[in-house]
């Protein structure tokens, strides 16, 4: 078993190192194949571990080596394979494998092909460290590794120039990469503080030891730790107000977006909350948990509203990720941790499929992402059309696809907890989700052909790419059917993750489900009515709508990026400039410069002593002797 753990963990790392050997040379197809194969190996190992855990019910815990040992402080490089981590491992490696294979086709023409694979595999490795670690410090290392790799990957096309915000809301890949990294750093500080608080009060970083001590801690400590850790989760999972980086991260190559949004990175925050569920289910931190649920619901609604009017294909999908993350936090905050984790897994499959399909469209349209320039693509891209439709149905939450079961369970949870406001918002959001995901499908694949007049000649993606995507399509359909099996599986971890609906909710479950389906269907119907018809009923852009207050508000993302720029970025730049010219140049630099100048001037002045005349030297020697004598005499007086 131990070997399997190491294979699952280190195969991506080996793949990354292998690819990095060829980082500077031109495209070599075997680099992509080897990297994909190694991730595939990691997936097989993870799946075997999952199967083993399912059949034998023994949690595997391995310690690779002592890591830090200083005084009383001991941290080991240890890994734990329990129901939570094995779920994450399987999902992460499965999606990553498909994304890797996809990238072999997608990055075909890119001259930095090899470099891309070394980053991509390193990204997966970091995520594996994050989910497999059995202590908070290991999790933090993976957490930071994911941040660095996302920076490298989002800014992969760093040579693209900056654009105006009006033309491109995310300015440029390097700008977006920096934004993502800096926002995550801000949140990481919170996370680090949370880890410090836990260590300070429990004397350990090991999950089980920390959680065993929780009942003995007082309320203030628990609340502070819960808040600080959640701030970290907010950054990684892009919750309001640290959400703007997520949509801007669309500047990266599409496989990266798929990986960030589906399996790695953004799910890390949800994972953290689920991992720390003993902490968040303490009665003392009920307030924090409720806040998590409320924030999640708010973000679900908020992101969905922005997706309603977005024209950029990838950004719509990014908003949907944001929205679905909100659902996950809502579930986790309400105590239904296993439902959150199940939604995370289901979401990973259909979201990866959606992104990869979006990548196909982008590839076909020569990097054009504006939905208004597409239309009627289904005749030319049949495979992609089917995938996108399946994924969108799953996202919209129609039975029997994956999204329905998990999302419905979350909405039911909100009803069960008597948080009716959250429940109503989540139901409405479900309708909006259906609308915007089908708006996107109809605008790109149905309706009038708008791309041919603009000179686009789309072509379908390579066959092997479409075949590689098929497991995701299958999973996007069937995952939901295994919900009760999964429930049985994860319940073995202990009471803290168990969550049952009350009898009352149970009776109403069918009606609640039907209500959600009704909202979803009406969203789809409205999208069809508005965008999918052809001929004289075809959808046209209307000035009146686009100049409306709400449209402007939504398309500008509620002016939040503008607000950040005006009230944070610009003042910060001004302060930095002032500090540079006033403090740094005039105090710090000046001090250093003056020390050098003083030494130089002294040397320059005293150089005259060196006359070359022995007599002068002797005179100076005498002066020195007198000075020494004086010093001796003075010090003798004081002793």
């Amino acid at each position: 078993m131990e070997n399997l753990v190491y294979i699952a963990l280190f195969a991506p790392f080996v793949g990354s190192l292998f690819a990095s050997l060829f980082g500077m040379s031109e495209r070599k197809i075997f680099v992509g194949i080897v990297a994909s194969a190694l991730i595939g190996l990691s997936f097989i190992a993870s799946a075997l571990l999952a199967f083993n855990l399912y059949t034998t019910e023994t949690v595997v815990q391995v310690t690779m080596m002592d890591w830090i040992s200083a005084g009383d402080f001991n941290v080991e490089f240890g890994f734990v394979i329990d129901q939570i981590s094995v779920t994450m491992m399987t999902v992460v490696t499965l999606v990553s494998t498909i994304v890797h294979v996809y990238a072999v086709g997608y990055m075909d023409h890119d001259k930095s092909f090899n470099r891309f694979f070394s980053y991509l595999s390193a990204f997966v490795f970091s995520m594996m460290v994050l989910v497999m670690s059995d202590n908070f410090l290991g999790l933090f290392i993976g957490w930071e590794g994911v941040g660095v790799c996302s920076w490298l990957l989002v800014g992969f096309w760093y040579h693209k120039p900056d654009q105006d915000r009006k033309d491109n809301p995310s300015i440029s890949p390097s700008w977006a990469a920096n934004e993502a990294f800096i926002m995550n750093r801000i949140a990481d500080l919170g996370m680090l503080i949370g880890i410090f608080i836990l260590y300070w009060n429990t004397g350990s970083l090991q999950y089980d030891e920390v959680f065993a001590q929780l009942p003995y801690l007082n309320e203030a400590v628990l609340t502070a730790a819960a808040i600080a850790l959640f701030i970290g989760a907010m950054g990684k999972s892009a919750q309001f107000p640290l959400h703007t980086w997520l949509t801007d991260a669309m500047e990266g190559p599409t496989p990266v977006s798929a990986l960030i949004h589906a399996a790695t990175m953004v799910t890390a925050g949800v994972f953290l909350v689920i991992r720390a569920n003993p902490l968040y289910s303490m009665p003392e931190v009920a307030g924090v948990s409720f806040f998590i649920a409320s924030l999640g619901t708010f973000v679900a609604f908020y992101a969905a509203s922005m997706a309603l009017v977005e024209r950029d294909l990838k950004r719509i999908i990014a908003y949907s990720t944001l929205s679905q993350l909100g659902y996950m936090f809502a579930a986790a905050g309400l105590g239904a941790y296993w439902i959150a984790l199940f939604h995370l897994a289901a979401h990973a499959f259909f979201k990866a499929l959606l992104f990869l399909g979006g990548g196909n469209v982008m590839h076909a349209m020569h990097d054009e992402l504006d939905l208004f320039k597409m239309g009627d693509l289904r005749k030319k891209m049949r495979g992609t059309w089917i995938y996108m439709t399946v994924a969108s149905i799953a996202l919209a939450g129609l039975p029997p696809l994956a999204g329905f079961w998990s999302k419905d369970a979350i909405i039911e949870t909100a009803f069960n907890e008597h948080t009716y406001i959250l429940w109503i918002m989540l139901v409405i959001t479900a309708g909006m989700t259906a609308f915007y995901s089908f708006r996107q499908v109809f605008l790109s694949f149905h309706g009038e052909d708008r791309h041919t007049p603009l000179g686009f000649h789309p072509h379908e993606m390579y066959k092997f790419v479409l075949v590689a995507m098929s497991p995701l399509a299958v999973l996007a359909v069937i995952t939901g059917w295994f919900m009760s099996t999964y429930k049985e599986f994860i319940y073995k971890i202990g009471e803290s993750v168990q969550y049952e609906m009350s009898d009352h909710t149970h009776h109403l479950a069918t009606y609640l489900g039907l209500l959600v389906i009704f909202f979803a269907l009406s969203g789809i119907a409205y999208a069809y009515y508005k965008y999918a018809r052809t001929g004289e009923n075809a959808w046209k852009r209307s000035e009146k709508v686009e100049n409306g207050f709400f449209y402007k508000l939504l398309i500008n993302q509620y002016y939040v990026p503008k607000f950040y720029e005006e009230f944070i970025t610009k003042p910060y730049a001004i302060i930095s400039e002032k500090l540079w010219t006033e403090v740094d140049l005039k105090i710090v630099d000046a001090t250093v410069d003056n020390i050098a100048k003083f030494l130089h001037n002294t040397g320059d002045k005293t150089r005259a002593m060196q006359t070359g005349n022995l007599s002068n030297y002797l005179n100076w020697m005498a002066v020195g002797g007198v000075i020494l004598l004086l010093i001796a005499a003075i010090s003798a007086m004081f002793v």
């Binding site: 005259a608 060196q610 006359t611 070359g612 005349n613 022995l614 007599s615 002797l618 005179n619 005498a622």
Partner: protein, 100 residues
């Protein structure tokens, strides 16, 4: 009665004379003399203090200094002769060849 302090004063005076010689003289030979004067001033002080404390170590030290000074003069004078042969002068102002 001549006490320790008298000897020390004489010693200090002779030392000062030697020091002034070292500082003011330009001729290397004179400088040598001046240093000898200073050394002997120290010897006087050693001998006087040694007698005062009834401890022979100081006088022994004076002998050592005399012996070392003699050998130093022997070497130094050898160098001076070579210098004189080379430059035809022992004046320090003429000998200055390095300037900072």
């Amino acid at each position: 009665m001549i006490g320790l302090s008298h000897y020390l004063i004489v010693s200090a005076l002779i030392f000062s004379i030697g020091l002034v010689g070292v500082l003011r003289r330009r001729n290397l030979l004179m400088l040598f003399f001046a240093t000898e004067v200073m050394l002997n001033a120290v010897n006087i002080a050693f001998a006087a203090i040694s007698h005062y404390y009834n401890d022979l170590t100081g006088q022994m030290f004076a002998f050592f200094i005399i012996a070392i000074a003699a050998s130093e003069v022997a070497v130094g004078l050898g160098i001076l002769i070579v210098l004189y042969k080379k430059h035809g002068s022992l004046d320090l102002d003429d000998l200055a060849s390095m300037r900072g």
